[in-house]
C-alpha cells in the first residue's frame, strides 16, 4: 500500500511538471508565432498611437519574464487573463465549454466500449468464422473512414434526408438535465418540491438526440481500434496455461472466457481507453465543428483564428491538464490491476 502511495505521488509530481511544461511551451509559442496580436485586435486602419495604447493595455509592452511570471501567478489564482477579442475573462469561458467536451468524450468512449468489447470477444472466440470476418471488416472500415466525412454523411442521411436526428448544436446539457432531479426546496419555492420528472425525461431525450450523431461519429474510430485490441488480447489469453488449467478443472467455457480470460484482456484495453479519453478531450475539433458542438475544440479553433492568445493558452492549459489527469488515473488503475508496474 505504501508503495502505491509513493507511486501515485511520483505520478502526480510528474504530471505537475508536464503541466508547467505545457504552460511554458505555450508561452514561448505565443512569442515566436508571427503576427502581432495588436494587428488582429485593432482595425486595419488604426493609427500607431491606437496600436501603442492597445499594447499597453494588454501588458504587451512588459519584458517577457515579467509577463511569464505574472501569467503563472494569475493561473495559480485561477485567473487565465482576458480575451483579446472580447475582453472578457478567459477562465469562465473555458470552463463553460468543458461540460460539452466531457459529455462528447465520455459518450463516444461509451459507444466505443459498448460495441467494441463484445465484438472483440466474439471475434476472438469465433476465430476464422463468419462473425470474425464481419468484425474485422467493421474495424477496417471504422479505422479507414475519416471522422469529418462520416459525420457529414450521417448528417446528410439521418438529419437532412430522413430527419431522424437533429443536425447539430446542444440545446441542453447533462448538468441541466440532471438538474431536474435535484429537489429545489426553500422558503420561497415551498419546501420539498416534487422532482421534475417530466422535465428530466424531456431534457434527457433532447440531450441524447443531439448527442447521438457526434458520439457515434467520434466513437466509431475507437470502436475499431478497441475491437482489434480486444480480439488479439483475448486470443493471447485463451492460449495461456491458466485458461487450459481452468478448462481442465471442468469450469464452464463461458466462465473461463468471460470471468478469467476477458478480465486479463481488459488490462491493456483500459489503458488505451483512458488515453483515448484524454485525446478526445482535446482532439474532437473536427467533430465539434461538423456538429456545431459547443466544446473546447471549437473554442480553440475560434481563438486561433482570432489570434486570441489568452483564450488559446487558457483552453490548451485546461486540455493539457485534463490529459495529464486522465493519464494519472489510468496509471493508478493499472497499478491496482497489475501491481508489477509499480516496481
Amino acid at each position: 500500500m505504501a508503495s502505491f502511495g509513493r507511486f501515485l505521488t511520483k505520478r502526480v509530481l510528474q504530471g505537475l511538471g508536464v503541466v508547467l511544461g505545457v504552460i511554458t511551451v505555450l508561452f514561448v509559442l505565443r512569442y515566436i508565432t508571427p503576427g502581432n496580436p495588436v494587428d488582429v485586435i485593432a482595425p486595419l486602419d488604426a493609427g500607431p498611437e491606437t496600436r501603442r495604447r492597445i499594447a499597453e493595455n494588454l501588458g504587451l509592452d512588459q519584458p517577457l519574464y515579467v509577463q511569464y511570471f505574472d501569467y503563472i501567478v494569475s493561473l495559480l489564482q485561477g485567473d487565465m487573463g482576458y480575451s483579446y477579442r472580447s475582453r472578457t475573462a478567459v477562465a469562465p469561458r473555458v470552463f463553460a465549454k468543458l461540460p460539452a467536451t466531457l459529455e462528447l468524450a465520455v459518450a463516444s468512449t461509451l459507444v466505443a466500449v459498448v460495441i467494441s468489447i463484445p465484438l472483440g470477444v466474439v471475434s476472438a472466440t469465433r476465430r476464422h468464422e463468419f462473425p470474425d470476418y464481419v468484425a474485422t471488416l467493421f474495424s477496417l472500415l471504422g479505422i479507414s473512414t475519416p471522422n469529418f466525412w462520416l459525420g457529414v454523411m450521417l448528417v446528410v442521411l439521418l438529419a437532412v434526408q430522413f430527419q431522424v436526428f437533429p443536425t447539430s448544436s446542444r440545446p441542453v446539457g447533462f448538468l441541466e438535465t440532471v438538474g431536474n432531479l435535484v429537489v429545489v426546496s426553500g422558503p420561497e419555492q415551498g419546501w420539498a418540491l416534487p422532482l421534475n420528472v417530466d422535465g428530466f425525461v424531456a431534457d434527457a431525450r433532447n440531450w441524447l438526440f443531439h448527442l447521438f450523431l457526434p458520439a457515434v461519429t467520434l466513437g466509431t474510430y475507437f470502436t475499431a481500434l478497441i475491437t482489434r485490441l480486444t480480439r488479439s488480447g483475448m486470443l493471447d489469453q485463451l492460449g495461456q496455461g491458466y485458461v487450459q488449467a481452468a478448462r481442465a478443472k471442468g469450469l464452464p467455457e463461458t466462465l473461463v472466457r468471460y470471468r478469467h480470460a476477458l478480465r486479463n484482456t481488459l488490462i491493456p484495453v483500459i489503458t488505451v481507453v483512458g488515453l483515448q479519453l484524454g485525446t478526445l478531450i482535446g482532439g474532437a475539433v473536427i467533430t465539434e465543428a461538423v456538429f456545431d458542438w459547443p466544446g473546447l475544440g471549437s473554442l480553440v479553433i475560434d481563438a486561433i483564428n482570432n489570434r486570441d492568445w489568452p483564450l488559446i493558452q487558457g483552453s490548451l492549459v485546461v486540455i493539457g491538464s485534463g490529459f495529464v489527469f486522465v493519464n494519472i488515473v489510468v496509471d493508478a488503475l493499472y497499478a491496482r490491476l497489475n501491481p508489477q508496474v509499480m516496481e
Binding site: L44, D45, G47, N57, R85, R87, T88, P166, T167
Partner: protein, 543 residues
C-alpha cells in the same frame, strides 16, 4: 440623355484643345455625371488614349471622386478584381430582402404563416455586446437587433431616419440632428439628447464612457457632440467640413443610455444590452447564441416575430445542413459550391446581393516591377476576370474597374474593366522594360470567400504570359495584416490580395485609406489623386 452625350463630347474636345496649357489635375474632359442622369456612356474608357490632364476641372464633390476613380483606373495600382457578394440561404418560412452592407436586420425578417420565432445562423458570434467596443459585421448583426443609431440605411444603402427625425448641416463642421420623441430604452428610461451626445462622445473621445472605441475612425473628423439649447436635438462638431458625416452616422454610432453605461462596468455592458431597438435581450450564451424577445414599448410597429435567435456556426456545410433540415431560417455565407443544393431544395432558397466589399490585388507603386504603369496595366489585361468570377465564384461577384463600387457616392459609371487581352499584356510588359519579371502574389487563406482560389487563378493567367512568371504565396491573415498596417510600405509584400469593406457608401473611404499616403493600408501614391481627394474632402456632398 442625348444632351449629356453632346456635353461630354464638347468637354472632351475643349479639354484636348486646352491640354497644353493645363496644369496637371486641374483641367480635363470628364463630364462629372451624377447618378441617374448619366448614360453610363461608352465614350471614355481607360484605353481611349486621352489623359486625365486633358479634362476640365470637376465642379462637384462627386465629380472629383469620379475623376479620382478614372485616374486610378488608368494608373492601375491594383489588379481590379471583384465586388464580393453576400450570399444567404433562406428557409421558405420567412421573407427577407438582403441588405448590401452585409448587415442582417431582424426587424425586416417576416415569418410566414403561424411562425413566431426566427433563427439566424452566422459564421461567428460577437466579440462582446458593447455596441461601441467592436468593429466587425458578426458583432454588428448581434448588437443592432437591440441598439439603434440616429440614421440607418435601407436595403440599397440609401440613408433613412432612425432615432433622428431630421438632420441638417448648419455650417461647415457643424450638423444638427432632430431627435425622435417617445423613444425609450429597454430599461424603461426615456432617450434624451444627453444620451445621444454622450454616445457620440463615447466613441470619439478617449475620456468619455470608459473605453477607447475602435469605432473612432469610423466617425472620421467628428470631434464632439452637445445637446442643443431648448429643443430635442443634438449638435455634432467636426474638424473641417466632413462631407461624409451623415453617411458615417447612417452606419455607425449606436445610441446608449448614459446612466446605464456609467453605472455598469465593462464586463456587464459586454454581456447585457440596453438599447432602443425592436428586440431586447432575453438570454446571452457567449460563443453559442443570443436570444431576443420583442420589445413591447418600441416606438415603431412591433417586430414581426416574437422571438429571435442568433447562433454562431463556423462550419459552412453545417449551416447549410441546418437550413435544409429546417433548424434555422437564415444562414450567412452559403459557399458557392453549396448554392445549387440550397436552391434545389423545396424548403429553402438562395438570396444574394452585391456587398460593399472589394477584393483586389495591390501592386506597390514604388517597387519593381510594379513601379511601371505599363506593367500594372499589363497585369489587368492578362487575366480573364469574367472567367474567374464564373468558375471560381459561381457568378456570385461583380467585376470592378475602380476602387468605388456601383451605388457608392463618387462611383464613375463611365469606366469599364480591362478586357482580357494576352497580346496587349505581353506588349505592355515589353514596353515597361520588365520582361522576364518574376513576381509573387501573397494571399490570405480563408479570410475572404475563395481568396486562395482567386489568387491561384490570377497567378495562373499571369504565369501564362511569355514574359512574366508568377507564383502564389499563402499567408496567415494576421501575419500579412501586420506587415501591411505597420505604416511602412517597404515591410509588406509588393503584390498581395486583400479585401476592403466600405460601409459608408462613399468612395473616399476606399481611396483615402488605400490609395493615398494618408492611409494606413496604402499601396499607391500619386500627386494627382492626392490633389483630387483633397478637393473632394473640402466640399460638402451636393445632395
Amino acid at each position: 440623355m442625348s444632351r449629356d452625350i453632346e456635353r461630354r463630347k464638347f468637354l472632351t474636345l475643349a479639354g484636348s484643345a486646352a491640354g497644353a496649357a493645363a496644369l496637371a489635375g486641374c483641367s480635363g474632359g470628364d463630364s462629372t455625371p451624377t447618378d441617374g442622369d448619366d448614360d453610363g456612356g461608352a465614350t471614355a474608357t481607360s484605353t481611349d488614349g486621352e489623359t486625365a490632364t486633358d479634362r476640365p476641372e470637376p465642379t462637384t464633390r462627386e465629380g472629383y471622386l469620379q475623376r479620382a476613380g478614372r485616374v486610378l483606373n488608368e494608373d492601375a495600382p491594383w489588379i481590379f478584381l471583384n465586388q464580393q457578394y453576400s450570399v444567404y440561404g433562406l428557409s421558405s418560412e420567412i421573407e427577407w430582402t438582403p441588405r448590401n452592407d452585409e448587415r442582417i436586420d431582424g426587424y425586416a425578417i417576416e415569418p410566414q404563416g403561424s411562425k413566431s420565432s426566427i433563427t439566424i445562423s452566422q459564421s461567428s458570434m460577437d466579440s462582446g455586446l458593447d455596441p461601441h467596443d467592436h468593429r466587425e459585421t458578426p458583432t454588428d448583426n448581434i448588437v443592432l437587433q437591440a441598439y439603434e443609431g440616429l440614421l440607418t440605411r435601407d436595403a440599397e444603402g440609401a440613408i433613412e431616419d432612425q432615432l433622428a427625425t431630421g438632420y441638417e448641416r448648419l455650417e461647415p463642421g457643424r450638423v444638427r440632428f432632430e431627435l425622435r420623441s417617445g423613444v425609450s430604452f429597454h430599461s424603461g428610461d426615456s432617450m434624451t439628447k444627453q444620451d445621444v451626445a454622450f454616445s457620440v462622445n463615447r466613441i470619439v473621445q478617449s475620456d468619455v464612457g470608459g473605453l477607447e472605441s475602435p469605432q473612432r475612425s469610423q466617425l472620421t473628423g467628428v470631434q464632439s457632440a452637445e445637446p442643443a439649447d431648448g429643443d430635442n436635438a443634438v449638435i455634432v462638431n467636426s474638424d473641417g467640413i466632413n462631407p461624409i458625416v451623415f453617411a458615417e452616422f447612417a452606419s455607425y454610432c449606436d445610441i446608449m443610455n448614459r446612466s446605464w453605461v456609467e453605472s455598469n462596468d465593462s464586463a456587464y455592458i459586454n454581456s447585457n444590452m440596453n438599447g432602443t431597438g425592436p428586440y431586447m435581450l432575453e438570454t446571452y450564451e457567449q460563443d453559442v447564441q443570443v436570444v431576443y424577445s420583442s420589445y413591447d414599448d418600441y416606438y415603431g410597429d412591433a417586430p414581426p416575430a416574437d422571438s429571435l435567435t442568433i447562433q454562431g456556426v463556423p462550419e459552412s456545410s453545417t449551416r447549410v445542413n441546418q437550413l435544409l433540415s429546417g433548424e434555422t431560417d437564415l444562414i450567412v455565407n452559403v459557399p458557392p459550391q453549396d448554392a445549387s443544393r440550397v436552391q434545389n431544395s423545396d424548403d429553402a432558397s438562395v438570396s444574394s446581393v452585391a456587398s460593399t466589399r472589394i477584393i483586389y490585388n495591390a501592386m506597390v507603386y514604388n517597387a519593381e516591377p510594379f513601379d511601371s504603369v505599363e506593367f500594372r496595366r499589363a497585369m489587368n489585361y492578362a487575366i480573364d476576370l469574367e472567367s474567374i468570377i464564373d468558375n471560381v465564384l459561381s457568378g456570385f461577384a461583380n467585376r470592378t474597374a475602380q476602387p468605388g463600387l456601383e451605388g457608392h457616392f463618387g462611383y464613375n459609371p463611365d469606366l469599364d474593366p480591362f478586357p482580357y487581352d494576352v497580346e496587349e499584356a505581353e506588349r505592355l510588359v515589353e514596353e515597361s522594360g520588365y520582361a522576364g519579371a518574376e513576381i509573387t502574389l501573397h494571399t490570405p487563406v480563408g479570410r475572404y470567400l475563395k481568396d486562395l482560389e482567386i489568387a491561384q487563378s490570377v497567378v495562373g493567367y499571369l504565369d501564362e504570359l511569355d514574359n512574366v512568371s508568377a507564383e502564389v504565396q499563402q499567408r496567415d491573415f494576421g501575419a500579412l495584416a501586420s506587415e501591411l498596417v505597420d505604416g511602412d510600405i517597404t515591410t509588406g509584400p509588393d503584390f498581395y490580395l486583400i479585401g476592403w469593406g466600405n460601409s459608408t457608401f462613399d468612395t473616399s473611404q476606399t481611396i483615402l485609406p488605400l490609395l493615398t499616403d494618408e492611409g494606413e493600408l496604402y499601396s499607391y501614391v500619386s500627386e494627382e489623386v492626392n490633389e483630387l481627394m483633397s478637393q473632394a474632402q473640402s466640399m460638402a456632398n451636393e445632395n
